[in-house]
Symmetry: D2
Subunit: 116 residues, 4 copies
């Protein structure tokens, strides 16, 4: 379970104490999610991470991966809190949409989904 | 609450039914998070979203914002599931780190955090 | 003028001397362009850069902007060189496409281009 | 050769005719570069592009790659024009910096450059 409401409340207090709420516009938070996502990606910029998940368990990279992933999640939670979006509900809705869009029989073993 | 374990299980079945697990390397999932984050950002590419959150409640944009945000969250959950990462734990840890890094008295009302 | 052929040759030698050509796959170079673009964007993550261009002339930020912009350009040149793409030709072609897509009378003073 | 001055002039007229100059703030153009870079990356989101450059010559993908690469280049040229930055000069300077930062003997055949 992710207690996103509790995390959202903590982030609210965090921003309030620093008077950062003024900077948390939709565009700025969307920018922040993208910037943090790119920092996660940077860890796999060259050869690393193209094969298996054991490459991610290595201690030299593990803590960096966790920090970047946490940053993305926290900004997603902050964005949803500011916008009044229910993350569990939209996640379920999106999975249902994807199930319609990509029926197993048409996409099995294929990555053509993104080739169109 | 986000039932990330249940969502992760659904995503596992989803990938298994389509034989997509082979494409879900660390690098590819990190790429996917970045691509979806950029699609959210694209909604605010020009003037929109620089002011307030009422710009996001408008029905012309609301559903797109929700879909992109859901995509990001789902790939974050999938990445964490593959890597064996506890999202609630890393989120709490990152907030604690940020509290140390940005003491309120040094950063109040300032965006210099990112100017260094 | 940008002497992209000369720059491409320098980048070729640079990669050859370090045996980095093996890492310069299409996906890795596309990742690198995205990562560097995000580093440029990060300089404007919060309030800065939303108003005018005098914010970019300030010496505290100028050299960082120049370095990130150069990184993007160099990876674009490297990608084009590896793919055998003529950058001047595709730039001209894209401008012609945009002129068709966005006739002045339909888009004057409007940012709706990206709102559809 | 890339005639970036001529392309910059065309982009200036293009923006002026549509009264888009008002939208071309530093942050918005940096956002645009990042968004287009991500669209290029999306073409290689899954398995494609991890091996060789022959994957990029295929006609099913070639024109998309060229369009996205052109978009990135055009926004880079537009950004530089607005900021008064000489692209050839900063590209040469960045290569010189990289040569210092990554001496061949210390980085040969290694991708550790990004692992630190």
């Amino acid at each position: 379970m992710i207690d996103n409401q509790k995390l959202a409340n903590t982030l609210r207090s965090f921003a309030a104490e620093r008077e950062w709420d003024q900077f948390h516009t939709p565009k700025n938070l969307a920018t922040s999610i993208a910037v943090e996502a790119s920092e996660l990606l940077e860890l796999f910029q060259w050869s690393r991470g193209q094969k298996g998940w054991d490459e991610v368990t290595d201690s030299s990279i593990r803590s960096k991966v966790e920090e970047e992933l946490a940053d993305i999640l926290l900004y997603v939670i902050r964005f949803a809190d500011k916008a009044g979006i229910d993350l569990q509900a939209i996640a379920e809705r999106k999975i249902a949409l994807n199930a319609q869009k990509y029926p197993p029989e048409g996409f099995r073993g294929s990555d053509r989904k993104y080739d169109e």
